[in-house]
């Protein structure tokens, strides 16, 4: 009987916690309802400009992503207009705050519609982006998210994205490791309790089939046992893996690096975007991360002319170094321009006609952008581009 009570209490408590968590999500950031009203003034009469509506978090915890996207998109729009516009028409950008909240993203979308938006650039983060796709699908408005990586961010045929989808990062990593001949024997340590990690793992395995390397060991862990990785590392070591692929977040990765160092096991570690942030772990000994590679579309210190020009413009205008979200947004605006030109669209078209034209247009363009050369899109909305990686050297990212 006593055990029953204990069990019951745990169940009741969990239910309470879930309920509280639900409230928290709905309630947070209620103070900024004014954001959706901003920026509606000063729009030109429709018919002579393409109106691009941007959606992303400009305030709140995820603000860094949205601010980068807005700034970079503005740079791209200014450049395009200075060079004569798209099809001879100017672009106009109106960027609305969604505070990384699905409901506010839909509000932002509605006020952008009132403003006369014809194309949506956003949303920046996955959850709000998924909410917005439902709305743009109903209106058949062309939507391109720079950085919504969840699979459902490109659910409908009017949705496209610039970044790799979560699972596509696995295939891209396999391609990168294979093409650069980083290793012959590869081990994978992944979190089987998250969709993110197991999704990347599955696509990595599929991508590895056509590559020259062999996956010698694939070990999982779960959210409930993510402190001790000695077994997974020992198995990778015993299997002779020269490279350990870590499609996981940086918290667990930092533990894996520490435990591998303690066990004198020094393979090449290769991560994906979840690894981005490992250098920011407070008090972390960054020498442990020396030589770690991660798949990321953009490194601000890359030496190519396009990146350097973009970074210096961004730093000059906004006094900050752009991150990969900024690069995604910059490419996104250029993709919109290219799709307009390819399809010969004009601002006078209805939103739905414009969407149909751009949908066909974007699948036949090839874009040389910051996040990759020769980027193409297929009807699924996902980009096809060569993956890029960076390496950590001396505590900073170095472009490869």
């Amino acid at each position: 009987m006593k055990k029953m009570k204990k069990l019951l209490s745990v169940v009741v408590a969990s239910a309470m916690v879930l309920a509280m968590a639900g409230c928290g999500n709905n309630g947070d950031g209620g103070s900024a309802g004014n954001s959706s009203a901003a920026g509606t003034g000063g729009s030109s009469a429709s018919g002579d400009v393409f109106k691009i509506g941007g959606i992303g978090p400009l305030t709140g915890e995820a603000a860094i992503y949205g601010v980068n996207v807005r700034n970079a998109a503005q740079i791209a729009v200014d450049e395009i207009n200075a060079a004569g516009g798209a099809n001879g028409y100017m672009l106009e950008l109106n960027f609305q705050d969604d505070e990384h909240d699905a409901e506010k993203a839909v509000n932002a979308y509605n006020s952008l519609k009132d403003w006369g938006a014809q194309v949506i650039l956003g949303a920046v983060t996955s959850t709000p982006c998924i909410a917005v796709t439902e709305e743009t699908m109903k209106d058949n408005m062309f939507q391109l998210t720079p950085s919504g990586s969840a699979v459902d961010c490109a659910k409908y045929d009017n949705n496209f994205r610039v970044c790799f989808s979560d699972p596509d990062q696995g295939a891209a990593s396999a391609q990168y490791i294979g093409e650069h001949a980083l290793a012959q024997k590869v081990a994978v340590i992944y979190d089987s309790s998250t969709v993110y990690s197991s999704g990347i793992y599955e696509s990595f395995v599929k991508g590895a089939e056509s590559q020259s390397f062999e996956i010698v060991c694939a070990e999982a862990f779960t959210a409930d046992s993510k402190t001790d990785f000695s077994v997974q590392l020992q198995k990778a070591k015993d299997a002779g893996a020269e490279l350990v692929f870590l499609p996981i977040y940086y918290q667990e990765a930092s533990l894996i690096l520490q435990q591998a160092a303690a066990a004198d096991y020094a393979p090449l570690f290769f991560g994906v975007d979840g690894m981005d942030g490992i250098l920011g772990v407070a008090n972390f000994d960054t020498s442990l991360a020396e030589g770690v590679m991660l798949l990321t579309p953009f490194a601000a210190d890359a030496q190519d002319e396009m990146t350097q020009k973009f970074v210096s413009t961004y730093v000059e205008k906004f006094g900050d170094t752009p991150n990969q979200f900024a690069a995604d947004a910059y490419d996104g605006v250029y993709a919109i321009k290219a799709a307009i030109e390819q399809s010969g669209a004009t601002p006078g078209m209805s939103v739905s006609d414009l969407c149909e034209a751009m949908k066909t247009g974007i699948t036949s363009i090839t874009l040389d952008g910051l996040t990759g050369a020769g980027i193409t899109w297929d009807a699924s909305g996902n980009p096809g581009k060569a993956p890029k990686a960076v390496k950590i050297e001396g505590g900073v990212y170095v472009a490869m």
């Binding site: 001790d228 000695s230 997974q232 020992q234 930092s254 772990v281 407070a282 008090n283 972390f284 000994d285």
Partner: protein
């Protein structure tokens, strides 16, 4: 050779569980309540050491002392504010729910103060690792120290409980609060002392947990806390040597499960073994079966 290395990994994980389980079993054995906030007191201890050593740059020993003092005070405060008023409540469920509440309170306060980003804990120990057979076997300094600390704590606790007056009072309270009170024992003070000792143990456990597995977040204590609770039940809750044996066995089973069966199924295997043990020995490995006299 890898079998031996897995065994060592298991013992090293198990020693951390054992250390946490000692605190659980101590409080349960005396106060007859499950202190679900124990795991989060561990987290507070680790954060205290982190603040003192890594943020303020003071020596590790001061950090450990600060953690022990703060956790002891915190444990007594929690007992006084959250548990004592409910001790006479008709259902033992009331205290249990409160303990879960305290657990979430501590986690969220830590989240407010330190934020959700993981911090890397610098080990307070400067003991090197022991390498055997040309480095094929590795025993970390943290493992050795954790096991030694466990053994010292077991001996000291057993001596304290069996040989001192305060310890005897604890035993009396654990058997019958009412009768103990009639014999002139201050029940409230005795239970407060139990929580003080339990929380001091939690502080030590927190420091060693984070030295062995150096990632610190507000949720660091919760999963090891639950595993250690299982270890305490496994060994026979209320039994001090039982907590140690339960913890070590749990660690070994978890690692062997990962190594030889499936790394995904490790927890399933641990809990399956727990169920089997409890089916044959309902009071755990070393638990005593005390008949309730009516």
């Amino acid at each position: 050779m890898s079998f031996l290395q897995y065994l060592i990994s298991g013992i090293s994980l198990g020693s951390v569980y054992a250390l946490i389980a000692l605190g659980y079993t101590m409080v349960y054995g005396i106060a007859k309540m499950l202190n679900f906030a124990h795991g989060d007191v561990i987290m507070v201890g680790a954060f205290t050491t982190y603040t003192v050593c890594s943020t303020m740059g003071l020596p590790p020993l001061l950090g450990v002392l600060a953690a022990v003092v703060l956790c002891t005070l915190l444990g007594m405060l929690i007992e006084k504010v959250a548990y004592k008023p409910l001790r006479k409540a008709s259902s033992p469920l009331a205290v249990l729910i409160t303990a879960i509440g305290v657990s979430y309170l501590l986690q969220n306060v830590a989240l407010l103060i330190f934020g959700g980003n993981a911090k890397s804990f610098t080990s307070v120990l400067s003991v090197g690792s022991l390498k055997l057979f040309d480095g094929q076997l590795l025993i970390t300094g943290e493992t050795i120290v954790t096991i030694l600390v466990c053994l010292v704590i077991i001996v000291v606790l057993m001596l304290f409980i069996n040989k001192t007056k305060a310890g005897q009072a604890m035993l009396a309270v654990s058997e019958d609060k009412g009768a103990a009170q009639l014999m002139g024992i201050n029940v409230n003070a005795t239970i407060a002392l139990t929580f003080a000792i339990g929380s001091a143990l939690a502080a030590v456990a927190g420091v060693l947990l984070c030295s062995a597995y150096p990632t610190l977040t507000p949720y660091t204590g919760s999963m090891p806390g639950i595993k250690a609770f299982v270890a305490a039940v496994f060994g026979g809750i209320g039994s001090i040597p039982g907590a140690f044996i339960g913890g070590i066995l749990l660690g070994i089973i978890e690692i062997f499960g990962k190594a030889y069966i499936s790394s995904q199924m490790a927890d399933t295997i641990v809990f399956a073994v727990l169920i089997i043990v409890l089916l044959f020995k309902p009071t755990g490995l070393l638990g005593k079966n005390i008949q309730e006299k009516v």
